[in-house]
């Protein structure tokens, strides 16, 4: 028995800021003080509050230390672990009250969350199967194999109302039922897991894989039993080395414990899983492209029908679900369909994980019941926008989604409501933008992404999006006309209606949604030739105000010699020479240079 447990986050965010070194130092310090039989150091998955990383929690007190450095470790050991005195200066300030330390679950960031998919993240050591088993791990697989029929499993998933968490929201139970029945005499079927999280700014799947890999393996085995498959594949991004490593450890451990392999739980059911690495192609998040890629080809999508449930991986009936979808499955099997469907809205049940990023105080991962409003997520959980800036838009759904303006902040978030306001759930990236972000520039950013990632197989996507991007460039260069807006809208609808796969069908969404809510910004670029947020370089003008003291620093730093003026007199910028690099503004000590 240990009297204290020190949980150190080993997720990507905290690892990147040095949590591995902190853990080693912690172990060394504990040994030095002779506490190794009293205090245990555990490496966990992501706690979610990445903005404050590296993060450490000390139990039984539940002290939440944030932004810990290696230099802080001796103090934590000698003060807290040895003498029992909490190191207050390192505590997350939200947890410090007049009456002492309050529980993490009482803080604004965690209070409104409800963790199902993330229930083990930041709680267990993901590299130890016994910690997963101690949290009811593999009990759902045991229940399914020994007490339920495959049809019974599908029925529970169907009744729970679980929908795909990868973006499109297709009912998971229906997918499984189709794959079970559509080809009655199939000799082989496959269960695939989509861990190719390519949506920039979304990292929920990675956190599940890093923090609770066994939950995904268990769910895939349950899915295999339900549809009658004996082989599973996890297609994971190669950019996620920690996730890949932990998945491989987890698969080996599950095999050792007989939870993967032949005759699982003596039920006669065989199931095994292989990991396949992606190689950096966004289109491989599309289900048919992903399967083509596992087969070892260029990851181009295939026309549907036939749907993968009928003819998928290697031509066999297959299902593909996203990581977060799988992470919900064991809990649904254990607690029942009614437990799950009691959460959420009428058509979207359960919870959803969002990756909060951009201009928000608490960047990180949050899991909330469906139907929570954007305002609650951004203001209460996310802590609002830093530096006193004003909210402009929240972007959901990544390159396939749209920008949601302030007037829709009180919309309860679910699949259908997001589509109604011109965005989509997507995988759950939620990027917050403030008044300093130009919405035309953001539309351009996403379109550059899709143009780069279009696989080139179908013309509407390959050429249409390129033309769309050219029109956007024309506008941000100050050469746009109002007719260009009409042309863009027409082109957007054409691309949406005629592209082969989801990538092309959704690529124009960022343009359409910004045109819908921020048309005035487009008009400002076209008619007034200005960028209201001062982002689009060609439309920005640097000017020197009367605050100028004539110190000559700007003139000396201008790389093109565009600034002239006498010492102690106001300087002037020659606009015809200015390349808008901003060096003058960065170097001015008197804030005498402004952007217009």
């Amino acid at each position: 028995m240990y009297r204290s447990h020190v949980l150190v986050c080993g997720g990507t965010g905290c690892s990147s800021s040095g949590s591995a070194k902190i853990r080693t130092e912690m172990e060394n310090e504990i040994k030095k003080q002779g506490l190794e039989n009293e205090v245990k150091v555990v490496q966990t998955g992501c706690f979610g509050l990445c903005a404050l990383g590296p993060i450490m929690i000390v139990y039984p007190e539940g002290c939440f230390y944030s932004r810990v450095t290696v230099e802080d470790v001796p103090e934590i050991v000698s003060e807290h672990l040895l003498k029992g005195r909490v190191v207050t200066r390192l505590l997350y300030k939200e947890t410090v009250t007049e009456n002492g330390v309050k529980s993490l679950n009482e803080t604004n960031f965690y209070k409104k969350q409800h963790r199902i998919a993330l229930r083990n993240c930041g709680v267990i050591n993901p590299e130890n199967i016994e910690e997963y088993i101690a949290r009811d791990g593999y009990a759902a697989l045991g229940k399914a194999l020994t007490e339920m029929t495959p049809e019974g499993v599908i029925d529970v998933i169907l009744k729970s109302g679980l929908r795909g968490r990868g973006g499109a929201g297709f009912p998971t139970g229906r997918k499984w039922a189709l794959a079970r029945t559509i080809v009655p005499d199939a000799d082989q079927k496959y269960v695939c897991c989509n861990a190719d999280e390519g949506d920039p700014g979304a990292f929920m799947d990675r956190s599940v894989l890093e923090g609770d890999p066994h939950a995904v393996l268990e769910a895939m085995a349950i899915a295999g039993y339900a549809i009658g498959a004996s082989q599973g594949y996890i297609y994971v991004r190669a950019e996620y080395p920690i996730a890949v490593k932990r998945l491989r450890i987890a698969i080996n451990q599950a095999r050792e414990y007989g939870l993967l392999g032949k005759n699982i739980f003596d039920s006669g059911f065989d199931f095994d899983i292989d990991v396949r690495l992606g190689a950096g192609a966004f289109v491989c998040g599309e289900e048919t492209a992903l399967m083509t890629s596992i087969e070892g080809h260029r990851g181009e999508p295939r026309p549907r029908p036939p749907f993968p449930a009928e003819k998928g991986l290697f031509g066999k009936p297959s299902i593909l679900n996203n990581v977060e979808t799988y992470a919900n499955v064991p809990q649904i099997i254990l607690n029942g369909a009614e437990w799950f469907s009691a959460m959420g809205t009428e058509k979207s049940k359960g919870t959803k994980v969002f990756a909060l990023g951009g201009k928000i105080t608490n960047t990180g991962l949050v899991e909330v019941p469906m139907g929570t409003t954007l305002r609650e997520i951004i203001e209460d959980i996310g802590g609002g926008i830093p530096n006193g800036k004003k909210f402009k838009a929240a972007q959901t759904g990544g390159p396939s989604g749209g920008c949601i303006p302030a007037q829709h902040l009180d919309t309860p978030i679910d699949y259908d409501n997001l589509i109604a306001i011109g965005s989509m759930m997507g995988s759950g990236g939620l990027i917050v933008m403030d008044e300093d972000n130009c919405m035309v520039d953001i539309a351009k950013f996403f379109l550059e992404f899709t143009v780069d990632e279009s696989c080139g197989k179908c013309t509407p996507c390959r050429i249409g999006n390129k033309r769309l991007l050219e029109l956007l460039n024309k506008i941000t260069d100050g050469n746009g006309t109002l007719e260009d807006i009409d042309k863009m809208e027409e082109l957007c609808h054409y691309i949406k209606n005629n592209s082969l796969c989801g990538l092309g069908q959704t690529a124009p969404n960022p343009v359409l949604s910004t045109l819908r809510y921020f048309r005035d910004e487009y008009v400002a670029h076209i008619v007034d030739k200005t960028c209201p947020a001062h982002v689009c370089k060609k439309l920005v003008r640097y000017e020197i105000t009367d605050e100028c003291r004539g110190c000559t620093k700007c003139a000396r730093n201008c790389p093109v010699g565009a600034i002239t003026g006498k010492v102690k007199e106001k300087h002037v910028i020659d606009q015809s020479k200015c390349i808008k690099c901003g060096a003058c503004m960065d170097n001015c000590n008197f804030k005498a240079i402004i952007k217009k």
Partner: protein
């Protein structure tokens, strides 16, 4: 998508590297869909996928070279050119972008005098504008090999590069 230029730098593979690759191919050639894992291993061994290596793979798997080349140029992670000793990546994912990573990237370009996908003449640095690397809490982010630098401004770039210039 991926770059399709063929490297002009002479191929310097060793017999040892080739043996390692051939062993891996022999062990995996009968696995369904083994082409990509084999190419990933080859890139691990050689650091990139020159045409000579693609030929070894095509011959051993008995598939056309065109198919190997097609896969190599489709995926962003496969590279036909050698990378620098220090591989610099600046994240241009959404979370980093809205926090100003374009300025960080531009600074890295001007400091090194190269663009995305290029290598400096001395082979020391290569630069890449990367997709989201998933530590959005640290945005904007830059990586040098396995080291991650977060919460950056453009002014931090020269200091970070200087650390590696003398190494």
């Amino acid at each position: 998508m991926g770059k399709s230029t063929i490297s002009k730098i002479p191929f310097k593979g060793t017999a040892e590297q080739e043996q390692k690759l051939r062993d891996y191919i022999a062990a995996n050639k009968d696995v369904q869909g083994s082409l990509m894992p084999i190419m990933q291993e080859a890139q691990e061994i050689y650091g990139y996928l020159p045409i000579e290596v693609q030929k070894i793979i095509a011959d051993s798997l008995n598939i056309p070279l065109e198919e190997v080349y097609g896969v190599a140029t489709f995926y962003a992670q496969f590279t036909l050119n050698p990378k620098g000793q220090y591989r610099i990546g600046v994240c241009l994912g959404t979370a980093c972008y809205v926090k100003g990573s374009q300025n960080v990237f531009d600074k890295a370009c001007s400091e090194l005098g190269i663009g995305s996908g290029d290598v400096t003449d001395d082979g020391k640095f290569s630069l890449e504008a990367t997709r989201c690397i998933g530590c959005c809490g640290l945005a904007p982010v830059m990586t040098v090999n396995d080291d991650v630098y977060g919460r950056l401004t453009a002014d931090d770039v020269p200091k970070i590069l200087a650390k590696y210039k003398d190494m």
